[in-house]
Subunit: 278 residues, 2 copies
């Protein structure tokens, strides 16, 4: 069976980097990430086996211990507290997220009213919020933009994983709210790249397999996009593959959500390669 | 006959101010505006009678003479040359235009690539261009925005009389050209106010008279908008009024383009008030 992997799939640059930093900085002492490093229980437990645990607050880390900041980033208070407590900080904040935090911070310092376009409860958005003096508005729809008051000087940043098309629509509503707007488009290309690569591949194959949590928003979106192009199945692991799917199929494409570890992708890949339809 | 004037009509704040400054600064010596003060020959010849002439270049003004900068404004070179020549400068640049010039200038000084949304050959746009180091792009359509290259840091200003709706559409295309955009919306409310006031009035009357040059873009636009609401006639002066228009008409509304002098409006108003339809 011919099986092709999407040009971009699975972990993005920022998540790969964070996992690498966590692994290489775990030894010798115990280390902990503040919050789970990604939304994938298998990955979290693998890291735990390697000595990288998870805590929910700095209080759980012993003095002089190591805290790993995950790719989503954190607000300035955490850095201050870690310094006060003399903790060893491994900062695995994704550089793209860092850029969004610093952009929001400098807009705030320049006296602009910051608006963050993103999901209110997303940890990355919370961190950007904390870098913009806690006075930022967070909006994720055109309707929410319309509800804002008139603003003198407005500064805009985005959650890195926000949809570019939606960002554009929301910003065009913000243009009615202020005559002086500084927009820093801090959207990272990973999500777009993954979606484009998935669509490209879906057009060339007889069947697409999209691997990732059934409750993962970005995986579900990949599956939606692929299903417009070809027969598509959304699976969490290789065990879900079913013999009848392979009838009349010659070419299979594979893509995976942003929190799907490599080894799960490889398993599906191998199983498809050697599939003997009978 | 009941005749109602639109709440806003004719000369805008900036033009009224420029004419006032020209008149009060003409005496004692001869004074000249650089370019015609407005696009209305009657007004220009009235001012000439009062001692305010028109020149096309500073060379035509004698040393120690007076130059009047009209509401559209001029670039920094003119101020420098006037200073060198020791001319007396009466700066009647509209404050809204000044704001656009200074906005473009400071964006340019901050190292941003300036984009001016406006008409390339409009004298105001030329002046803003000269304040932004001559390297600005001038665009007036979404298609022209799409043709721009990718830009690192982008600064946007607008011709003061540009349409707010069109500005919004063009800016939303510019969002695809740069990840760091500072937008200063230098549109003045005069045009909008005039249009809204004209529509409001058109809805209450049996006939609208729109006074202004047949080749004036803003007057033609007013006539278009009014004609959607009620019977509308576009005239240049009171002599064009025709008896048959007044059949069955009880209430007349009047508006006028931005370059229509008060006395022409008054003439039309008086003639309508005393019209006896027979
Ligand atoms: S974590 Fe990933 S999605 Fe982008 S912002 Fe960083 S590369
Ligand atoms: S000249 Fe008039 S149209 Fe506005 S920018 Fe000044 S008030």
């Amino acid at each position: 069976m011919e099986v092709i992997l999407a040009e971009y799939l699975g972990f993005c640059y920022g998540v790969k980097r964070a996992i690498h930093l966590a692994r290489t900085n775990a030894a010798p002492g115990p280390a902990n990430t503040l919050g789970p490093i990604i939304h994938n229980p298998q990955m979290v437990s693998r890291l735990a086996d390697e000595g990288v645990g998870t805590v929910n607050s700095l209080d759980e880390i012993p003095d002089n211990g190591t805290v790993i900041i995950r790719s989503h980033g954190v607000g300035p208070q955490i850095y201050e507290e870690a310094k006060r407590r003399n903790l060893n900080v491994v900062d695995a904040t994704c550089p793209h997220v860092k850029k969004a935090q610093m952009a929001a911070h400098s807009l705030f310092e320049d006296g602009l009213q910051v608006v963050i376009i993103g999901e209110k409860c997303h940890p990355e958005v919370r961190s950007i919020m904390e870098w913009s003096g806690e006075g930022a508005y967070v909006i994720e729809s055109e309707a929410e933009a319309d509800e804002l008051p008139k603003i003198g000087k407005l500064g805009v940043v985005a959650q890195t994983t926000f949809s570019g098309a939606k960002f554009q629509k929301i910003v065009s509503r913000l243009l009615l709210k202020s005559d002086d707007i500084h927009i820093i488009r801090t959207i990272c290309t990973a999500t777009d790249q993954r979606q484009k690569a998935a669509i490209d591949l879906a057009r060339q194959v007889d069947m697409m397999l999209v691997i990732g949590g059934k409750n993962s928003a970005n995986t579900t979106r990949l599956a939606q996009l692929c299903s417009k192009e070809t027969i598509t199945h959304h699976i969490e692991t290789a065990t879900e593959l079913r013999d009848e799917w392979f009838t009349n199929i010659k070419k299979i494409g594979i893509t995976a959500g942003a929190s799907t570890p490599d080894w799960i992708i490889k398993e599906v890949y191998q199983k498809c390669r050697t599939w003997h339809h009978c």
